[in-house]
């Protein structure tokens, strides 16, 4: 008995040592809390390059007591990390960027974020695109984020490959080639017949832009699955493209896809504003070979992010101030000019700096004008709670058709079945 007791005592002592260490660490980071005279550190988490380097320096100069720590990472990892820290209740950054693909997931946990309406963010509502403002709003009316950029949607094409296939290369003329998706597929068939190469990168990259153009997506505002509306239209277009043999069947953002750029495996690519950076990075030697035309079927949006402030932070007010400063017009234009992310405030689409901007890599296309037009013309689409998993389920069915495991005629019932399965899970 004595023996066990002393063992327990020894164990306790060791635990106390460990606890002591971590306690001290916590204390030191707590020091940043408090009055205006004290030093405040704000950790900002995001992915890729959001053009913050210069903004950080400017802000720190104007606010000597604020130190901003930029923490960039991989797109999915950053979102997952935020989710885990929210569950743990500690460790989240003071400010975190959240992408469109994840905003639904996080707005459902609005209690874990600062309601920006409480901090006077209501003034911004009129400045934002209506749908951008609504997308980050929880069902009980809390605003968890302020919009940074929107994707817009256009069609990037390889003018050199178009020329070789005897197609027009001027962006106005190319836009006229495909006012709707049927025409687009016809152009694709011509291209394939002439060159023997594929035209688009994949069927899913036809499905997603077409779906974005529909008035209702997977779910209506009552959270009911609406497969027979928009999804059916988009699905049919993608099946038609696959049956026509114009798709290279490459999954986006994967090694094969990146290789596809270099090997000229496709000639067009549905591209939001932020995609331009990706093309430039993946195929730097294709400078001047890419150009941008309008997307068939009018406007659309793909991606775009928000700045959110997790409520577990120690310096919430300072964080909110910084976010408000970042979404001011001067800063938004600054970001647009450095990395090309298109602002989500329609007033800026009339700004001469945005309108005059030309992207050298994309054959000097006026990207400001092109993307602003598509983003402003978009009708808001409600994104349901299970939008993300449903999209993955339907995309998987499209991939199965591309892989030959499923006939395109049998694919739609299968897509409905898979989507319903996702919609049903967890309705306890």
């Amino acid at each position: 008995m004595r023996r066990t007791l002393s063992a327990v005592a020894a164990g306790l002592a060791a635990t106390l040592v460990i606890a002591g260490c971590s306690g001290r660490d916590l204390e030191s980071s707590n020091k940043t809390e408090g009055g205006s005279g004290e030093q405040i550190t704000l950790k900002v988490a995001f992915w890729g390059d959001m053009g913050l380097d210069k903004l950080k320096a400017d802000y720190e100069k104007a606010h000597p007591n604020v130190k901003i720590v930029l923490n960039t990472g991989e797109f999915n990892a950053q979102h997952e990390d935020l989710q885990k820290k929210l569950v743990a209740g500690t460790g989240a950054p003071d400010i975190s960027a959240v992408d469109e693909g994840f905003i639904v997931q996080f707005r459902n946990q609005s209690d874990k974020f600062v309601n920006l309406l409480d901090k006077g963010a209501g003034d911004f509502e009129s400045k934002y695109l209506d749908w951008k403002w609504k997308a980050s709003m929880s069902s009980d009316g809390k605003q968890i984020g302020l919009g940074t950029d929107v994707g817009g949607l256009a069609m990037c094409y390889r003018s050199d490959l178009f020329k070789a296939a005897g197609l027009p290369t001027d962006r106005e003329e190319v836009s006229k080639l495909w006012t709707n998706w049927d025409q687009f597929i016809e152009v694709g068939k011509k291209y394939v017949a002439k060159t023997g190469k594929k035209f688009v990168d994949s069927g899913t990259n036809m499905f997603n832009p077409v779906l974005a153009q529909q008035p209702v997506g997977f779910y209506n505002e009552q959270e009911q699955l609406q497969m027979d509306g928009g999804p059916k239209v988009a699905f049919d277009v993608s099946m038609k493209a696959i049956d026509a043999g114009i798709s290279a069947n490459l999954a986006s953002f994967q090694p094969n896809w990146n290789q596809g750029f270099k090997k000229d495996q496709f000639a067009v690519l549905a591209c939001p504003a932020w995609m331009l950076g990706h093309i430039q990075e993946t195929a730097p030697d294709q400078k001047g070979k890419w150009d941008i035309a309008a997307i068939p079927g009018g406007g659309g949006n793909w991606g775009g992010s928000w700045w959110t402030v997790p409520s577990q932070g120690k310096n919430i007010d300072a964080a909110v101030d910084f976010v408000k400063w970042m979404v001011q017009p001067e800063q938004q234009i600054e970001v647009f000019e450095t990395v090309g992310n298109l602002p989500s405030q329609p007033d800026l689409y009339k700004d001469p700096k945005v309108l005059a901007y030309k992207k050298e890599f994309m054959s000097n296309a006026p990207t400001g004008q092109i993307f602003a037009a598509t983003a402003a013309g978009l009708k808001p689409q409600y994104l349901g709670k299970k939008n993300g998993p449903t999209r993955v389920a339907v995309e998987n069915v499209i991939t199965r058709v591309q892989q030959g495991g499923l006939k395109s005629s049998a694919a739609w019932p299968e897509a409905v079945k898979q989507a319903e399965k996702v919609a049903k899970t967890g309705k306890a």
Partner: protein
């Protein structure tokens, strides 16, 4: 019974005189308690990072915990486990896991045994060979899997290039991820590549402890190399064989990195377009962090834990029998 006692004799000092009472207290403390202090860090860490998560996971498994809908909360009882029984995704993942497990473990251990047997002979450059077979084990799994994912690519992949050399799939290259059998083979190849060398070294170290005269006697009696391997070597290294079987069972049933990174679209964690190669570990990750259903994911991981216990126990029994404990 040994003639020499190797353990230090436990001094039992004569009953100490009363004036050195303090010293005797210190002495007893040193003798009885300090050993526990020295081994305690492991148990403390094990408690924090091993036992606690296991128990907490068990608690979560009988609760509803959904991140996408915080209103759904409270005790679920065995509801999550009941759901498991009728979840076709779970059974599909279980089938995939066992398929890949058998395709990887059986060849892996057999080849490791043969390689170890070869390395156990007199060779030139022994160290070179021994280090050489261990190299795949030292490669970070993410790096090697990325390379394999490109190796097994549909277009421009080396595996398809080799196949085309022997006249297969020149017209329509094999899409390794499209079918169950091809995806399983590809993933099992990655696992085998990584672990054969490691197991071979374990076997080799056990083999070196076998006295040479046993082999000499067998050779005199006319047993060939193959017979010696199965009749002498394997029975004599049986404890190590059991150990490797248990380890590969645990590793094989928890397979995650390889199928995850082999997927064309790793973000979805769906293990192929029709879940062709989704393993249980991957499904747990998907249910927890993609579908945001933490309670159900916890129930799945407990189910996986029980399955591993069961299979590891079964494998141990089988290996004991093969090894000659009849």
């Amino acid at each position: 019974m040994s003639l020499t006692e190797l353990r230090p004799a436990s001094h039992r000092p004569a009953p100490p005189p009363k004036k050195v009472r303090t010293r005797s207290w210190l002495y007893r403390f040193d003798n009885k308690t300090i050993p526990y202090v020295f081994i305690s860090p492991f148990f403390i860490l094990f408690g924090i990072f091993g036992v606690f998560p296991l128990i907490f996971n068990g608690v979560v498994a009988v609760r509803n915990w959904r991140l996408d809908d915080p209103t759904l909360t409270g005790w679920a009882g065995l509801g999550n486990f009941e759901r498991l029984l009728s979840d076709e995704d779970f059974w599909n993942a279980l089938g995939n896991t066992f398929g890949i497990f058998i395709l990887s473990t059986v060849p892996q251990l057999l080849i490791a045994l043969i390689i170890a047997n070869l390395l156990n002979r007199k060779l030139r450059g022994t160290t070179f060979w021994r280090i050489g077979i261990l190299l795949p084990y030292l490669t970070p799994v993410v790096a090697s899997t990325l390379v394999f994912a490109i190796f097994f690519a549909r277009d421009n992949g080396m595996a398809n290039w080799f196949l085309s050399l022997v006249g297969f799939g020149q017209e329509t290259p094999l899409d390794w991820r499209a079918q169950k059998w091809s995806a399983w083979i590809a993933i099992a190849t990655m696992v085998n590549w990584k672990w054969i060398g490691y197991n071979a070294l374990l076997y080799l170290s056990a083999m070196q402890a076998i006295p040479k005269d046993v082999y000499e006697a067998a050779a005199v009696d006319g047993a060939g190399a193959w017979r010696q391997l199965w009749r002498i070597t394997v029975p004599m290294i049986q404890p190590v064989v059991v150990f490797t079987v248990i380890l590969s069972t645990i590793g094989g049933l928890q397979l995650f990195n390889e199928p995850m990174m082999f997927d064309e679209n790793p973000q979805s964690a769906s293990g192929g377009s029709a879940h062709q190669f989704q393993t249980i570990a991957q499904l747990i990750y998907k249910v927890g962090w993609k579908d945001l259903d933490l309670g159900y994911a916890a129930a799945m991981s407990w189910a996986l834990f029980l399955i591993i216990l069961l299979v590891a126990g079964l494998n141990t029994l089988l290996t004991r029998r093969i090894g000659g404990d009849r």
